[in-house]
Symmetry: C2
Subunit: 697 residues, 2 copies
Amino acid sequence: MNPVTIAIILGLLAILYGFITSRQVLGAPAGSDKMQEIAAAIQEGAQAYLKRQYSTIAIVGVVVAIIISLTLGHISAIGFVIGAILSGVAGFIGMNISVRSNVRTAAAAQTGLQAGLTLAFRAGAITGMLVAGLALLAIAVFYWYLTGPSGHTVGGEDRTVVQALTALAFGASLISIFARLGGGIFTKAADVGADLVGKVEAGIPEDDPRNPAVIADNVGDNVGDCAGMAADLFETYVVTVGATMILTALLMKGIANFEGLMALPLLIGGVCIVTSIIGTYFVRLGGSQNIMGAMYKGFLVTAVLSIPAIWWAIDYALGDIGAEIGTTGFSGKSLFHCALVGLIITGLIIWITEYYTGTGYRPVRSIAKASETGHGTNVIQGLAISLEATALPTVVIVAGIIIAYQMAGLLGIAYAATSMLALAGMVVALDAYGPVTDNAGGIAEMAGLDDSVREKTDALDAVGNTTKAVTKGYAIGSAGLAALVLFAAYTTDLREFFPDLDVDFSLENPYVIVGLLLGALLPYLFGAMGMTAVGRAAGDVVKDVREQFKANPGIMTYESKPDYARTVDLVTKAAIKEMIVPSLLPVLTPIAVYFAISFVAGVENGFAALGALLLGVIVGGLFVALSMTSGGGAWDNAKKFIEDGHHGGKGSEAHKAAVTGDTVGDPYKDTAGPAVNPMIKITNIVALLLLAALAAG
Amino acid sequence: MNPVTIAIILGLLAILYGFITSRQVLGAPAGSDKMQEIAAAIQEGAQAYLKRQYSTIAIVGVVVAIIISLTLGHISAIGFVIGAILSGVAGFIGMNISVRSNVRTAAAAQTGLQAGLTLAFRAGAITGMLVAGLALLAIAVFYWYLTGPSGHTVGGEDRTVVQALTALAFGASLISIFARLGGGIFTKAADVGADLVGKVEAGIPEDDPRNPAVIADNVGDNVGDCAGMAADLFETYVVTVGATMILTALLMKGIANFEGLMALPLLIGGVCIVTSIIGTYFVRLGGSQNIMGAMYKGFLVTAVLSIPAIWWAIDYALGDIGAEIGTTGFSGKSLFHCALVGLIITGLIIWITEYYTGTGYRPVRSIAKASETGHGTNVIQGLAISLEATALPTVVIVAGIIIAYQMAGLLGIAYAATSMLALAGMVVALDAYGPVTDNAGGIAEMAGLDDSVREKTDALDAVGNTTKAVTKGYAIGSAGLAALVLFAAYTTDLREFFPDLDVDFSLENPYVIVGLLLGALLPYLFGAMGMTAVGRAAGDVVKDVREQFKANPGIMTYESKPDYARTVDLVTKAAIKEMIVPSLLPVLTPIAVYFAISFVAGVENGFAALGALLLGVIVGGLFVALSMTSGGGAWDNAKKFIEDGHHGGKGSEAHKAAVTGDTVGDPYKDTAGPAVNPMIKITNIVALLLLAALAAG
């Protein structure tokens, strides 16, 4: 059977898994009326937000689609639209599963830790498999259609397929940056605002039903950590696998079994969906009741099974895994070894992230300890950890680049990235589990369930903080590799489109330095905008809640209910408004830099600066993203560690300092940090599209 | 007269200015016995610290000198020793002036704001002129000796002079990173520790004599902000002017009037000493009593007078400013325009820094406003501002690179950097004024002077926060340009030493990406170590003070005096211990990366990765340093803005939050951030020396 067909079937398998498992999850008891009422409010708010977010993005999307259609043709525009819509669908599904399983997880936690874990993790697994399955199907079906019914060829003069795949990736990225940033601003504005006015001012606990912002806070977990994350990982998958295929099309054309090599990334994605599904069934608490251990078990099973599965995929797609590929000097076996490198990078990043954000190790404990001497030392130590946390992942990524490149050149780096993303189903499952348990805890608190239930959901949630950080490290790490692949596509394209230009990408060319500096600036400016947006929107929340308390004193005495919907609506408007400008930054900057430098120093230097900008974004962005996501996770768990009874426990001065650290970490880890990943990719893809448009124009 | 001789005479003029002005300053009344007693304690502590710091550095210095002597010969070793010793001397003098003028400034502030300003600024100007004068003399005299009495030639086969100048720069940089970091750890550990245990725990005001850490805090201002800063700027001056001469020697050899072009950077430095001295006499309060305005006046006079002065210098050194230089296609006039670019960059960076750290503008006010909603939002907004503050300086530096390069190639960039540093006398004067006023405030408080005195010193100090941030932005901005020059020297040297190697510095070479990533990692890791060190040492201070309060309850009732010396000694030991490892990071990393990559991927890629590492350090470091120094300054002044009676004023909840932000900003702006500047240069210089050693070995 054609490898593309097999990939499509396996993609459908992921969708099937999603349907079956969601029936199981939705069949579980949904708790008391009160719990269901709270859950309904969260659900309603999340749907209202996503509806408004997607309507706004649609306007941008339509404009961009028209521009693409006019400059690059209809097929590319269709690719863009497919990428955009499916990215939105991935987010929507993620949110929908999450808002239905949160209350069921709270209900299940009443019977035991294992029951709560099973339900929350299954909910996560649905999102995970649907993200991976949809992403795989998007590329595979589109590729099948273009090279089959539509009759285009790849690897020759016809650039349609390569451009259409690029446009598909752009659609996915553009939606995902809006979703990540808009959702991120929503969730953290609500969270920070609720904490400030509730915990700090009114002195009521987190998730107290009297706090008008409490529903908005829980809505935020779903639209940010769940919908935003799902759109982001969909994008990462599409871009990585797409970039590998584009690089293959550009570098490998004319070799024997070119079609097999083109289809190989899809087949690897397909077989790893099977191994991910199998892995989900191994997430079970052992005798030690170690939740992180249960997660590890599932991941390890998936990773180990993926090794023979990828071997088979390469052997099947290429016909013979040992034969040399074209005249490259390397064989399918080399690609297999590169894929192993990708699996090892994934494992190491998970392990490093757990070290930096888990409550059992030095970093989190050092922040907890520093909280004893006050707010200032908590934040100083948290910042120190966030800076430090960039080191090991960078070394791992650098080692991965070197090893993969030694084995199979640029294509080797592409395969390392592809095999990382092939595990996305499993990794997203681990991540999406987090917001479900976070919400479950909120519902348990608001519905007045027994404290033992909250204890269980808190234990699940603490692991969720780590798994959420893991996905972000994983996404940004893979972005580091994918950006190299995209840069290679850029330089190859440049030579093909403009064979007469002599573009100097050497570090000795000052315009390269200029590009690197401007590229590295982007994540800083983007981060600044994201952080400011959260601060501003959180301030609005504080004012709104103060007004509600003042206008309706019955709220504090439980005599009347706060107007949750009003706060949700306010945060919605603020998040939508704030997400626009920063999201357009990576779209417009590459275009502006190209034209500005071309004007000043000629077209060659314009292209050189643009190329350097692409690498500057990744060199700058990798560190900004890693430091923000790890640091934020560490601050959050330092607070949890103190709440577990260390350094004075809840209510102590150390706890207050830790709450400050957690508040600071919130926009770091959930708004600015994770949105850097799609930002890097957008910059790169816009450059590719600009090249194509300039060549066509 | 030979331009080198003129430069030496003008360098001596700076020293003469220093002597005359210090007589004036030391002749001013030193206040009451109590004030003198306090000042003596600070002086003693500062001298004890510097003595221990320099003894420790001396051990490292001797080892490095021996290595240089064995690999590169005696003359280079002598150059290294001269750079190292004079860097130490610059720091020592800066500290010495500062500890004598603090008490006199406090005394002068009793008579009026202008009197306080004059005294403090004169003290700063002494340090400024001595730093610039010593730096100029170090290079000029050494260069004169090598090319005169010692009989070496430049621009031919004899590499002695170039290597000796490189070694001189290395000596200056190595000492300055220790001084910046050691002093930075000392000052902030004492500051943070004193605040935590005094203001927060014991509820006594800042600079209260009952706090055993209060003398250590004031000592810190002198050994960190003064001695560390002076060593840093000495280093920046030597490296920038030295790099311009090295680049000239490598690129321009064989042209007519080569000697004149070699001497030109020295002559520019010399004439700007004269303009800087004149400028100092224009720092006077106008009718508006605007302190920052007075500073601006002095700087503007210097900058404007420097324009004709630099024109004259170029015309004199080259014989004819309009004639083409060699066959480069540009003339002395082009270099003059590049020098103007440098002056404009300096002015813009001062203006941008004032915008981001002054109390009159949006950034600082937004942090002050965010303090109303608590510690968390203060820190979030401060971090947002620190990220944002990187944007405009980067754009200015990028524009400067483009314009200077268009006008006179790499040499143009070098001249832009040189003219920036030519103003160092004036810029350091503005900076060194800060710690003097800070100390004066402390002495006024401890000696129980009238509140009106403290108000005046506080007003002077608030401007000091901005001018301190200005110098850091200026130093790191010039480092951006200087690093490009050093990188050009690296690639030129590489071709000269190893003409057969084909080193690929293109961004398409993955080992270049590896180098960029590892380079960008360095400032993060370095920053993490610096921040952690401050946190740890501040914790020790807290414990020590708690013990003193417990063992001696009479302290709080003024019945007995705390043991100030014990705390000073403790911080001294901690700072010395903590500075070693991070300071060696930039020395050892380039060597390790070269050998590791050479081993894995061949010597060509080893050199490529090392070159990329040099640019990675600057691309990563520029943003880390700019964000930390501006953010820290903004936090500090946000607190001052609240203390001036906004948002509830002193003692309000907003003020408490602002104190937290200030504490966080302390190690940001005074430890980790500024030390990135010498770190960048060390990495680059070590690479140059490694090249020479490999070629010789």
